[in-house]
């Protein structure tokens, strides 16, 4: 069976095609993230233009996915107006596959400096949603990323080792897990069980899992 990565490897075999694709993805991503961040902050185009020291049509141009003549100085000004930092880096084509998969409004959102939980997890406990809609409180973003990646690894491979790894991460915050027959999501004082969606219920629980310390 072809994986997403191998499909892209084949599609991007031609160098000209590959660079044109990556460039178009970059332009689309920047414009889309500007819109997403502006709206996340409740700013109109006119209000944002004022922060940038430009006019509303200028913002409209920057928010167009077909805009392609980005200037680093403009991007720096945008970052400052939105309370985030600008990151420019050279990347592999392999990482583009993951960026493509993650492309969505929610994945492009970023908190501004004052609301960044990663900078002060004690004073401002992280309140975030993992991909299952469960609220996670009082844990660092590193833990959340590790835990979400662990769950994903389990979903992708259905391997017991991946499941145990996710379970170990969960144990770090005294997460308890329902046993077979339950809907199958991690429940804990820091997790609130989300509505039982189809996605939620589709997570299979491996047979013969240890019951010790787990709520069944």
């Amino acid at each position: 069976m072809k994986t997403f990565h191998s499909e892209r490897r084949q599609e991007w075999a031609d160098e000209d095609y590959r660079y044109a694709y990556a460039e178009d993805f970059l332009n689309t991503s920047i414009a889309t993230q500007i819109v997403t961040l502006r709206e996340q902050r409740g700013l109109s185009q006119a209000a944002f233009a004022q922060l940038l020291g430009t006019k509303q049509p200028g913002v409209s141009r920057l928010e167009n996915v077909n805009h392609s003549t980005w200037k680093t100085e403009t991007l720096k000004r945008i970052a400052r107006a939105l309370g985030v930092r600008l990151k420019i880096s050279f990347e592999t084509f392999g990482s583009l596959v993951d960026e493509e998969k993650r492309f969505s409004r929610s994945q492009l959102e970023r908190p501004k400096f004052e609301e960044d939980p990663a900078l002060d997890p004690q004073a401002a406990p992280l309140v975030a949603k993992n991909k299952y809609g469960a609220l996670v409180q009082g844990v660092g973003s590193e833990w959340l990323e590790g835990f979400t990646a662990g769950i994903k690894a389990y979903e992708d491979t259905l391997m017991r080792s991946a499941y145990l790894n996710a379970r170990n991460l969960a144990a770090q915050v005294t997460v308890t897990v329902p046993g077979p027959g339950n809907a199958g999501l991690f429940e804990t004082p820091v997790f609130r069980k989300p509505p039982e969606t189809a996605e939620y219920q589709s997570i299979p629980i491996p047979p013969n899992q240890p019951a010790s310390g787990w709520i069944s």
């Binding site: 599609e11 075999a13 031609d14 000209d16 095609y17 590959r18 044109a20 694709y21 178009d24 993805f25 689309t28 414009a31 889309t32 819109v35 997403t36 709206e39 928010e63 167009n64 996915v65 077909n66 392609s68 493509e100 492309f103 969505s104 409004r105």
Partner: protein, 133 residues
């Protein structure tokens, strides 16, 4: 994860009109790369974001929208929301290229006619196929 399912209209000989258009117009590699990227991002965006970023323009005629792709040429494949389920899918109805900011004469009307064909016969479309490079 995709927010929308994508479909392509099939002509009376069951040929995918978008792939046919790409071949007939001899789109360049740059065109094809940008087209594939823009179509995939459209599937992942909510409708409001697609309009806000001007990826999607319209409706330009009745239920017809155009996907805006600036590359070597002004590619404007035309599509509609739905038409079977307007919230979760788009159907590409006809390929088009703008010249001097104008679509070919009659193309918007043809796209709308294709939409009506799909409404009457949902088999006249297939799951969207990637543009071959």
């Amino acid at each position: 994860m995709a927010e929308h399912a994508l479909w392509d209209f099939l002509d009376t000989r069951c040929r995918n009109v978008i792939l046919q258009w790409v071949e007939d117009e001899r789109l360049t590699k740059r065109d094809r790369a940008a087209l594939n990227n823009k179509i995939r991002r459209l599937a992942q965006m909510d409708y409001a974001l697609a309009v806000q970023t001007k990826l999607l323009a319209g409706p330009i005629y009745k239920h017809v929208y155009k996907l805006v792709v600036h590359t070597d040429r002004m590619l404007r494949p035309m599509l509609c929301r739905g038409p079977i389920d307007n919230e979760t899918e788009y159907t590409f109805l006809l390929g088009a290229i703008e010249i001097n900011w104008k679509l070919p004469r009659g193309s918007k009307e043809q796209a709308e006619a294709n939409r009506e064909v799909v409404l009457l016969n949902p088999d006249r479309r297939c799951a969207h196929e990637d543009i071959p490079q």
